[in-house]
Amino acid sequence: MPRPDAAAKADAFLELRGIHKRFGGVHALRGVGFTIEPGEAYHLLGENGCGKSTVIKIMSGAHAPDEGEIVLEGKVYYSLTAIQSLSAGIETVYQDLSLLPNLTVAENVALNEQLVASGGRLARLFDRARLRETAASALATVGLPTDRAFLGTVVSDLPLAQRQLVAIARAIATRAKMVIMDEPTTSLTRREVDNLIAVVERLRSEGVAVLFVTHKLDECYRIGGHAIVFRDGQCVEQGPLANYTKQRLAELMTGRRIDAERYRTGAPMAGELFAASGLSLLPNVRDVSFSVRKGEILGITGLADSGRNELAMAIAGVMPATGGSLRIDGKAEKIRHPSEAIKLGIGYVPEDRLAEGLFLDKSIFENEIALVVRDLANGFGVVDKAKGRALADKLSQDMRLNTRNLDLPVGALSGGNQQRVLIGRWLSILPKLLVLHGPTVGVDVGSKDTIYRVIQQLAEAGMGLVIVSDDLPELLQNCDRILVMNNGRVVAEYDARETDEDQLYKAMLVSKPVTQPAVNTETAR
């Protein structure tokens, strides 16, 4: 219900005023307000659960605020519908990507353009030629192929990185006036991020406002623009990014000091714990050999399609290796299934915590004890729940969960806390070797800090850790050695103390011949 309003800034595209949002008990937003001007870039910063996604969902019409006003191009609304927001030119890249897995790339990218054009009315023919054009141009912009084959690929067949790019392509497929990106770079490689940043530049030059949500502060600086800092559902600071140091922003977000020095404290102990020789998972991993010692933290990086993901899965038994051999404590072993890996004391924290890690509808308690239910069972096969609760309670304390209520569904936790639950689950069996795949994807500085410290403690205790990640600072801060993979092979190995991001990055990019992409494992029907 728009009404004319004198107070609305003429030049502002969008203004939020005193927005409140409650979810049952949770007071997610407590009177936040900010202004979005055309052609500007904004960075919405804050810890997990501070309200970023919520405020985004309000701007994009997914949630209705309980109080406050939304001034959109001079018109005042109390709430927006998805169609209103879209027709006004607000495009969103959601944190969960919000893709339709069963539709083709072209449809995912360009169908919405036609939906919005029809004002949300569905009794319309849809124009397939136009669909392809729109999709092709948008895909080209984000650096994805535009050939028919790719346009016709079903999205569920794409690896995560490509899905994220497709989501971005959808946002820029229409003549948007404002593009919102909620953690768009979590699974992108450095190069794709560069590309994305260039896209953002161009959007701004075309007068499009861009609102960025990310937990990777250095990306913010590379884009520049304004910072909007949230804490506990309130807007605690606004201003040009240039005015703040990383340190300062971290403090503003968390309300406490965080000095991101090198976390690695201990050193590897004597004695090989795990060794892979000539390990292959065709066609993605070819003849990879490496070893991990007790208390050692090994980093593995590479581009999304370098085979690093498949390597991690092969070690965890998710995708059994097709060749080569593994040694654990000097004994040759085969790993054909996660359960076998677990028996051998190898834990795996998957990259996609929502799809592969957590039981979202189930309580924190059940998620934490998932690995040990059998051990918790007494002689009569009855699970000792008291013991289980004690364990879960200890684990959630060790991981510093922000809630004491173990019966809360994990789906109700923020990404950061969800990740803590997942890592905590593995601590319940204290594996010999823990493989962490993208351990801090979508996790805020505060949570990162916690997670890193836990990692170090584990290493001190003699656990071997493998961190598979494209977050280079993360690797440099936490590892002893870093392996760089390229086109399925290990192309370089560095001592983390003696290398830096550029060196690693160059190694990732060395002459890349035809690439074998990550085939994602969909369980059909």
Partner: protein, 342 residues
């Protein structure tokens, strides 16, 4: 707005190992076709008597009603739901419609009757749609409820007495031949109402692939929450698709009556699972979001053929259930086998 995009991306399209397998994986209805052909060949070898035009005609006629049902079920499946109430809808509309015509307007033009039945079915479908949307529970649950409801209303309050002599126009419609020829002293008739199936299939295909609504249905099948977030109106979609399925059911019902020359309110209910099975055998996933009209039709043909060649092959009636059951399992296993190849 395609501007100079800078560094070439690491991301490249996903090439698949084997072209054929890839094709099968994407268009599972091919498997259905293979099975269908295989069976027909096998049967004709066992008993050449199967190779007659009349076989084709009979199979064609026998698959009309199930085919209409299946199209409806497929729409719902595509949107990620399940409908088990369509048989009740069909029985309801066909019986009350026949009753109405017989008692109040015995010589109503058949076209009108068909339209009315379709509309009636759609109306009951709308009830389904609204319930599914506002109760926010899986459609399987809701439609189990409405199946009992509709059937209960029909039998408890509308009537149970079979109508043995239909209103003349309906009877005539049931007999009206499309193709008729003699073979071995017997007249083979492909009735006119057979045309309804291809027509409905064509419309359904067009609706699904050429209109926004069609794509929206698949979008909802992919992920309802996301679809809603992207601006699709779930309410419209739910109501439309159940209305559409209901309309098809109503139409199927009246044709069933006309073909049988009697209106039996106890008919049809109880066959819903078989129809769903046919659709799934046609390559649509029970979990929703996939499938094609062609596949659905093939699935129906498969089931009809299997059921109608048992005597041909000379399977004693004691063993027929075992054979059909075993076949369903084999077909399903074969499906998974082909899909797994990737």
């Amino acid at each position: 707005m395609s501007a100079t995009h800078l560094t070439e991306s690491a991301a490249v399209p996903v090439p698949r190992p084997n072209r054929l397998l890839e094709l099968v994986r994407r268009r599972p209805e091919i498997i259905t076709l293979v099975l269908l052909v295989a069976i027909c060949v096998a049967v004709s070898i066992i008993n050449p008597a199967f190779l007659q035009p009349s076989s084709l005609v009979d199979i064609g006629r026998a698959s009309v009603v199930m085919g209409l049902f299946a199209l409806g079920v497929f729409i719902i499946l595509a949107a990620g739901g399940i409908d088990v109430s369509f048989t009740a809808i069909a029985a309801f509309t066909m019986y009350s419609m026949t009753l109405l015509v017989k008692n109040h307007w015995p010589d109503a033009p058949i076209s009108l009757v068909l339209v009315a039945a379709t509309a009636g079915g759609a109306l009951l479908g709308v009830v389904n749609g609204l319930l599914v949307h506002y109760l926010k529970v899986p459609s399987l649950i809701v439609t189990i409820g409405t199946q009992y409801l509709f059937r209960g209303i029909l039998l408890a309050f509308i009537g149970t007495v079979w109508i043995m002599s239909l209103p003349p126009t309906m009877g005539a419609f049931g007999r009206l031949p499309l193709v008729q020829f003699d073979s071995g002293g017997r007249t083979i008739t492909l009735p006119f109402y057979f045309l309804v199936l291809p027509a409905a299939a064509l419309i359904t295909w067009w609706m699904l692939n050429r209109t926004l609504m069609g794509r929206a249905i698949f979008a909802v099948g992919g992920n309802a929450n996301v679809a809603e977030r992207l601006g699709y109106s779930l309410r419209t979609i739910h109501v439309f698709m159940f209305a559409y399925a209901g309309a098809l059911a109503g139409l199927a019902g009246i044709i069933h009556t006309a073909a049988n020359r009697q209106s039996n309110p106890f008919d049809l209910v109880g066959t819903e699972i078989n129809v769903i099975a046919a659709v799934v055998l046609g390559g649509a996933r029970i979990t929703g979001g996939t499938g094609t009209v062609i596949g659905t039709l093939l699935g129906v043909l498969l089931v009809v053929v299997v059921n109608s060649v048992l005597v041909m092959v000379g399977i004693p009636s004691t063993w027929q259930r075992v054979v059909v059951g075993a076949f369903i399992l084999l077909a399903a296993a074969f499906f998974v086998f082909c899909q797994k190849k990737n």
